[in-house]
Every structure is written in C-alpha cells, then in structure tokens.
C-alpha cells in the first residue's frame, strides 16, 4: 500500500467509531494484564473488565444509533454497520454473562483469575473481528484471536484432567480447522486473485479450484459451529472445560461463526442448499439423539448445543436458496442466536452456580429435588430448558418459529418438518432434568454432604441468571421490541 493510500485509510471519518469497540476491549485487556502484575486490590481487575465491556457496549450502541454508520473501513476489510453492531452487542452480552458466572467459580485457580479475564477480553475482541471481517485474512486473525484464548481457558483448571484434556482436544482440532481455513483461503486466492469478500461478491467464484477453496473454508467454519460431522469435539470439550468457559464457547463462538457464515453465504453456489439442509438435519438428529442417553446435564446441554447449531444451519440453507425477503434469514438468525445466547448462558451458568467449588457435580442425580432446596434456581432452569425445547411464551419458541419459517419459505419443507418433530426428542431429555428437579427426592449424598466451608457469595451469578431469565421471558412474551431492533 502506498503512503497515500494508508493516509486516506486512516483519515476515514468513520474509522474511530468503527474501531472504538475493538479499541475499548484491547485497551481493557492490556490494562488488565498490567493490573495482574501490580499489587492492586482484587476488585480492580473486575472493575477494568466491566469497564472495558461497558465502554465497548456504549460504542456499539452509538454505532447502532448513528445516522450513517461507518460502513466499510480499513480499505474494505472491516465492516462496521448496524448488523455488525448488533452482533457486537450479543458478543458483549455473552462475555459479560460468562464473566459474571466465573467470578466466584474458581477455587484453586483463583490466583490466575486476572489472566482468565484477559483471555476472555481477547476472545470478545476476536468475536467482533470475525463478525465484521470482510476479508479472509482479517477473519482469520479474528478466528485465532477467539480460539487461542479459548484453548487456554478450556484448560484453565490445570489440576483437573478433564479440563486439560478438553483444552488439548480443542486445540488440536481447532488447529486443524484453522489450517483448513488457511488452505481454503489460499486456494480461493489462487482461483480469484483476491481475499476480499467485497471483491469476491463482485466477481464470484467460478472455477472448481475456487469452489474447492470455499468448501474447505466452509468445513472449517462448520467445525467452529459444531455441525455434523465436525461436532464430535463438542461434548468432551464442553464437559471438561470450566463451566463459565463453556458458557462463552456455547454462546460466543457459535454466534461469531454464524455471523461470518451469513456474511459469506454468497460464496457457496445455490445448488449447495440441499446439501446444507441435509447436513442441518443430520446435525439436529445427531445432537438430539445423542443427548437422550446422557446422564450428565452438562454433556446433555453440549449435545443440545449441537442440535441448535443444526437448526441455525437451516437459516443458512434458506439464505443460500434465496429468500424473497432479503433481510429474513438475518433477522431469524439474529433473534434465534439472541434467544440462544441468553438461554444457554443461563442454563450453563446455573450449572456453574450449582457446582460446588472444586467438586464438579453436574450429573442428573445431583439436581434431584432442586425445586425444594433452591426454588428460584429450579424455576429459572425450567424456563431455560423450555426455551431450548421451543415452548411458546419463551424466546426460544419464536426463534425456532422464525428459523423454520425461513426454511419453509425457501421450500425446504421436509427438512423443516423433520426438524420441528425432532423437538419432541429434545423435550424428552430436557424434561428429564425438570423431572429430577421437581418430582424426585434428592439423593442421599446430596442431602448428607455439608455446605462447602467459606463458600463465596453467589450474587454475580444470581444477577446473571436472573437477567437471562427475564430476557428469555421478555423475548417470548413481548417480542415486538426485539424484532424491531433486529430489522
């Protein structure tokens, strides 16, 4: 690039607003690292974290309200418009929720909490880059910025084999998928001479080489969103990771990858829609049927995450086929993901809250009789499970409705009907948890085990869980406001 081009790029008036959220997260991350080293009281780290998230949120809201959003900045590699601001708000919400659930979660690893929070901020920044990227290399930077902190976070509880195993598994498979992405991008570059999405939209992908590159890119993204057959890592990684990190993985990673998928949908040929729909159906089947046989709630929710990814893929298939309403798939995906972020964060987060410190007990037995011991937690968990199942009056129902509507509008009726019916299977295993909480007596060990000494306050987790529950109900009962925002 010539110095003039660089000067022109940097003097773009929309650039500060476009990059402000990222800058807020980046500065916050650096400040957090510094605070780890300096002898400051513990709350300073938390304050910096929340401060940087809030600043980023303020900038995203400013972007949303801006009369003329910045649009393409940095020489057409990053898009800062209303849609990317909406995704950004979701990412920040996911990160905030994951952090709230993590505040009092760790015991042995508490000294390293500062690094934990730093990694979370990096992941959030990576998510934003992924959603706004209009260039394959910028996307890759975002992908790695999201993934590598998550590898480390997955293995955060270093004394537990499950956590380390999760981290190693995630890292190995993630490295493979990143390599696929790079190779696919390289093939695409060879075929078309550009890595810019804007340029690719203009010239299209015509050659077989380019299509092969796109297929590899798609495979890499399918790994990230845990779609069949790239979903096998999900249960082990979700179960082994510390639960607040699982919250971030289930909500943030999925959302970021889908955001980019929707941006890049034009790369795939329209004839791929049938294949994508079939993959979506297989994913929903694999996720739902595998979840039926799980005895551990965390693992069951992980498989349900796979099933939800399959449902979302239907939106992608519908967008591929061409929707008479161009904003339809995007609105459906945004609403579904928003509902899913709050539901999954709430359900995984409640599990994090209920786990006794240092004693992971997310099995179905440990939840028995929860309704008597902690009635509000049980009620909130029931609400989240019903939303995951798609019962009306919750956000999850309307999200599912919108997604299936897009699928039916794209004439993928059979797949949509099959997907709808798989919800019955889903509800079978969600209800098992409700049965345990409300209709069964606590097992002897739960009753006999004494409360953990020095158990820390649960206020942040309670606030987060309540916020999630309120939002899930609001999205179900008063969806008008949300739907208007997402148009």
């Amino acid at each position: 690039m010539t110095p003039d081009a660089i000067r022109a790029m940097l003097s773009d008036p929309g650039l500060p607003l476009a990059l402000a959220p990222l800058a807020a997260l980046g500065l916050g991350a650096v400040a957090l690292l510094v605070a780890c080293v300096l002898p400051v009281p513990r709350w300073v780290g938390g304050g910096i974290f929340l401060g940087s998230l809030t600043a980023a949120l303020v900038f995203e809201l400013a972007l949303l309200r801006a009369e003329t959003p910045p649009g393409l900045v940095l020489d057409g590699t990053y898009l800062a418009d209303r849609t990317s601001a909406l995704w950004g708000v979701l990412f920040l919400a996911a990160t905030a929720l994951a952090w709230l659930f993590s505040v009092h979660y760790y015991r042995e690893d508490r000294p390293f909490k500062g690094e934990h929070d730093f990694l979370m901020l990096c992941a959030a920044a990576g998510m934003m880059l992924m959603a706004g990227a209009q260039d394959l290399i910028v996307f890759f930077v975002g992908l790695e910025l999201l993934s590598i902190p998550l590898y480390a976070l997955a293995a955060f509880r270093r004394a537990r084999t499950a956590s380390v195993e999760a981290g190693v598994k995630y890292f190995l498979l993630g490295a493979f998928s990143a390599a696929f992405f790079l190779y696919g991008a390289a093939l695409l570059y060879t075929a078309t001479g550009t890595v810019s999405l804007v340029e690719l939209k203009r010239i299209g992908v015509q050659t077989t080489l380019g299509t092969a590159g796109v297929a590899l890119i798609a495979a890499s993204l399918f790994f990230k969103v845990s779609v069949f057959p790239f979903h096998l890592w999900v249960p082990d990684v979700y179960q082994g990771s510390p639960t607040p990190v699982t919250v971030l993985m289930a909500t943030g990673t999925k959302t970021a990858a889908f955001a980019f998928l929707l941006n890049a949908v034009f790369l795939l040929p329209a004839s791929a829609a049938a294949t994508i729909a079939a993959v979506a159906l297989l994913t929903m089947a694999a996720g739902n049927l595998a979840a039926l046989v799980q005895g551990d709630v965390k693992r069951m929710l992980a498989f349900s995450a796979v099933a939800h990814a399959g449902t979302l893929l239907l939106v992608f298939a519908g967008a591929l086929k061409g929707d008479p309403d161009p904003g339809g798939p995007l609105q459906a995906a945004l609403f579904y993901l928003a509902a899913y972020v709050f539901t999954a964060a709430g359900s995984f987060g409640l599990l994090a809250w209920l786990e006794r410190d240092g004693e992971p007990s997310t099995s179905l037995e440990s939840l028995r009789g929860l309704a008597r011991r902690r009635p509000w937690a049980a009620a909130a968990m029931t609400l989240f499970l019903l939303s995951l199942g798609g019962i009306p009056a919750t956000g999850g129902f309307l999200g599912k409705y919108l997604v299936f509507y897009v699928a039916i509008r794209a004439h993928l009726v059979a797949v949509a009907v099959a997907g709808i019916l798989l919800s019955v299977v889903a509800l079978a295993y969600y209800l098992r948890v409700v049965v345990a909480m409300y209709m069964q007596e606590p097992s002897a060990e739960t009753v006999a085990s004494p409360p953990v000494p020095g158990r820390q306050s649960a206020a942040p987790a309670a606030i987060a869980a309540t916020a999630c529950a309120v939002l899930v109900l609001a999205m179900g009962l008063l969806p008008g406001w949300f739907l208007d925002q997402l148009r």
Partner: protein
C-alpha cells in the same frame, strides 16, 4: 359490537393475577394460598356467568371482541404479518368458556381434601392452567391460540408429575411428549397458513381457507387434526389418556377430563371443520368411523377395568367418541349435539372423578372389588354417584341424553350405519357404568373397612351440588344452552353445505378423500 369494558381480558388474566398473588405468599401459608385461589376462581366463575348470560345466541359473529396489537412476524413477501392479542366469543366457544369458569372453583374447593403438600405451588399451577385454558377458547388469533395451547400443557405436566399417583412420572412424560408432538405438527400448519395468507386472524383465515382447493385443505387439516386428535383423544392416539387420568391427583383429573380434552374437540371444530370445510367433508366418513369405533372401544375397555378411576378414564374415550361422531356429522343437529355433549361430558365425568376422589380419600384404594354395599354407609354419596352415572349413561331427564340424542340424530342424517353403531354404544355405556355402580354401592356390606366409612360432609356436598344442578338443568331445559350456540352452528353448517355443493359440482359425485380425476 365492541363493548366498552374489556371483560374478556379480565376473565383471562384474573387467574394469572391470582397466581402471582399466591406466588408471593410464603410457602407455609397453605391456607392463604387455598383461599386466594378459591376467591380468584370464584370471581372468574361470576364473570363467566355474566358473559354467558349476556351472550346473544342469535348472532354468529364474535362478541365481547377485544384486540390489542402484539408484535409482527415476517410475512410471505417481506411484508409483516401483525400478530395481535385478539379475544372474542362466539357460539362455538361460549359454552366451553362458561364450563371452564364454573368448573374451576369446584376443582379448587376439592383440593382441600387431597392436596396437603406444596399447596402454594399447586394453586399457582392451577391458576396458570385456568388462564391457559381460557386463552385457548377465547383467542381468535392463530399464533395466540398456539401459544395458549402449548402453555396449558405445562401446568398439567407439573400437577401430575408432582402430586400424582405411583406411576406419575411415566404418565406425565408420556402425556406431555405425545401431546407436544401433535402440537408441533400443528405448528407446521400454523406456519403454512401464515405463509399462505399473510394473516393470523382466525375469522379471516376461515373465510379464505375455505376457498382453497380440497387437496391443499387436506394437508393443512391433517397438520391441525393430528394435534387435536391426540388431545381428544381419538383412536389410535388414545394410549396416553388412561395413564394420565389415573395417575393425576383428583383435581387434575377433573380439569383434564372436564376441560383439557375439550380443547381437542373445540380445535377440531374451529380449526378443522369451520376452517377447512372441504377437507372436513372429504374426511367426515373417516372421522365418523373413528368416533363410532371409539365409542365402542372405549366402552369395552372400560368394561374390562378393575380400577374405578381407570374405568372412568376409558369412559372418556367413549364419550368423546360421541362428540367426534356428532361434530363430523356436520348437520346443525349433530354439531349442536357435539358442542353440548362437550359440556355434558365435562360435567358428568368431572363429577365422577370428584366422587372417586372422595372415596379414595377414605379408603385409599380404587379397586372395584374392594367396595360393596357402600350405599348403606354413605347414602348422600350414593345419591350423587347414581346421578352422575345416569347422566353419563344418557338417561333422559339428565344432560347426557340431550347431547347423545342430538348427536345420534345428526349422525343418522349423514350415515345411518355409524349412527347405529354409536347407538349400540349406549348399551355398553350403561353396562359398564351400572356394573361399576353395583360393585361399589350395592351388594352386601362385607368388608369391615367399608363398614367404618363416613358419609361425605358439607364441603364435599357443596362441591357436588353445583355440578349436579347443572346436570339436571341441562337435561330439563337444554335450550338455554343450545340457543347460545345456534347461530354459529348454523353458520358452520352453511359453510359445510357450500363445500359439499362445491365438491359435488366439481366432480359430479360427493366429495371423497382420494378422488380420482375422471375424464369429463
């Protein structure tokens, strides 16, 4: 047409407000929870009676109409489809709303005897369920109907699962998954209708869906009908009912039999017959057959039971077979009979479940061979039981006869064969009901446990009297009730006749399910 007071909104949300009030109580104030629930349901009953009294049966359009915009769904071509909060009553729903409103205080009053634990939660779920059920009958918006339909499943799931009998977990999960699966098929139908017509207004859709070609109507009808068929239940989707009824607590059984099953028949009427008349005409023989077979099958099943509650549960299958037979005869007589029989079944079977509950509270058994000669010790109970049984069997003078007679008359107009089959079901009904009565009430008072029984007290009599009075009233003066449904029923019949005529004109033959294209 629109009155100034939104009385339907009061009717609908008063139970929910009561539920919130009960929720705010501390858990140990069980009595306060009971009284608040009783007060709320009684207030709803008063409102329901007022609405019933003020309803004008000579006009088929909706009355007490209320509409508030809610949100907008994406439409077929990008234009939004407004979903609104649209409530209204017409001749098809007025009796059901009145039944629900009047039955609930009785149900709440009955819980004094058999709900001792976690009373507050029980009342919350009961009140939420009342809102759900009323919402199903009152909503004139497709999405709103679906929301209330699903929402009314959840409280019963908890009621059976927490306060039910021995096999309650199995029964409640089976009930929920079975019914939910059907509702999901209905969701497909809902999406298809919204996609096709871009509206969620039930009246608008009824007018326009009737103009679709019969093949399209059949698919849409199928989607809705499966959900309703599971709920009613129509053979072969009936397997969830016996377990759910038997394992539910008494009040749960009364609500289930009294109102929830009627949601299925109401749905078949409003979203099946009234909305897709062409498909209804084509499928009528099938449904009439299923109804008649259900009458016999349910009766034979009930005859074979040794558990009194399970016997009454199987009798529900039989009685609702009558309703299906009458509705799908689709003559004014049959439709009116079907609508009335929905109320009758709710009253008589609800009464029977209450009575079974009372004797279960005393003996803790429901096996028929554990009783015998109880009438000697519990004469008042015996009177009510005999009245309920005779109403269920269809004795003239009580309500069951009016409904059954109208249904069989209407069915005979359409299909004499199935009407005869249905009529023979009356005999079987009498057989198993009278057999059960004899085993419980009459015969030698052999067992010592039965000799120690106390008769029912004032509270229990207070429960039973309103329902029994209604049984007699409907039996003696049914026109009070039939008049209110007259206009709407005749409107549906006209719509059906138009569809029948259209089918006849198109093919030169009466409408058939799989009509072959014949060269003209």
């Amino acid at each position: 047409m629109a009155p100034s007071t939104p009385i339907l909104a009061w009717l609908l949300f008063l139970p929910l407000a009561g539920a919130v009030a009960v929720l705010c109580l501390p858990a140990r104030r069980a009595d306060a929870a009971r009284w608040i629930a009783l007060a709320t349901t009684s207030a709803v009953a008063v409102l329901g009676t007022l609405v019933f009294a003020g309803f004008d049966g000579s006009r088929p359009e909706m009355q007490y109409f209320l509409e508030r915009p809610w949100f907008a769904l994406p439409g077929p071509h990008g234009s939004p489809v407004p979903v609104s909060f649209r409530l209204g009553l017409d001749g098809l729903s007025i009796l059901m709303v009145a039944l629900t409103a009047v039955l609930m205080p009785v149900v709440v009053l009955s819980t004094w005897g058999h709900v001792a634990e976690r009373v507050k939660e029980f009342m919350v779920w009961m009140l939420v369920m009342e809102t759900g059920m009323l919402g199903v009958f009152l909503s004139l918006d497709l999405v709103l109907f679906y929301v209330f339909w699903e929402v009314s499943l959840i409280p019963l799931y908890f009621l059976v699962g927490i306060w039910g009998g021995e096999r309650r977990l199995y029964a409640t999960i089976k009930f929920f998954l079975y019914t939910f699966g059907g509702s999901l098929l209905m969701l497909v139908g809902v999406i298809a209708l919204i996609y096709r017509f871009g509206s969620t207004d039930v009246y608008f859709l009824s007018d326009h869906a009737a103009l679709l070609p019969v093949q399209d109507q059949l698919w849409l009808f199928a989607g809705f009908a499966v959900a309703f068929a599971i709920k009613v239940p129509i053979l072969p989707f009936h397997t969830w009912l016996a377990d759910a009824h038997t394992e539910a607590p008494t009040s749960g059984s009364v609500v289930l039999a009294g109102v929830l099953l009627k949601m299925g028949t109401y749905g078949l009427l409003r979203f099946g017959i009234a909305m897709f008349p062409g498909a209804a005409v084509a499928l009528a023989p099938l449904f009439m057959a299923l109804g008649a077979i259900g009458i016999l099958y349910g009766a034979l099943l009930a005859w074979a039971q040794s558990d009194l509650k399970r016997l009454i549960a199987c009798s529900s299958v039989s009685h609702l077979g009558y309703v299906v037979l009458g509705l799908f005869a689709m003559t004014a007589t049959g439709l009116a009979g079907g609508v009335l029989q929905m109320v009758n079944h709710g009253l008589s079977t609800g009464l029977l479940f209450l009575l079974v509950g009372m004797i279960y509270e005393r003996r803790h058994t429901r096996a028929l061979d554990q009783f015998g000669g109880v009438a000697a010790r519990m004469p008042v109970f015996a009177v009510f039981l005999v009245l309920a049984v005779l109403s269920s069997a269809g004795l003239p003078g009580l309500n069951g006869f009016v409904g059954e007679y109208l249904i069989l008359l209407g069915a005979f107009e359409r299909s004499p064969f199935w009407a005869v089959v249905g009529t023979s079901g009356v005999v079987f009904g009498a057989i198993y009901l009278l057999m059960a009565t004899r085993k419980v009430l009459f015969g030698p008072l052999a067992r010592p446990e039965n000799r120690a029984l106390n008769d029912i007290g004032a509270r229990e009599v207070a429960l039973l009297v309103p329902l029994t009075a209604l049984l007699v009233w409907i039996g003696v003066a049914p026109n009070v009730f039939l008049d209110r449904t007259r206009a709407s029923v005749e409107l549906v019949e006209r719509r059906i006749d138009r569809a029948r005529a259209a089918a006849m004109a198109e093919t030169g033959r009466p409408a058939q399910l799989f009509a072959k294209e014949e060269p003209r």
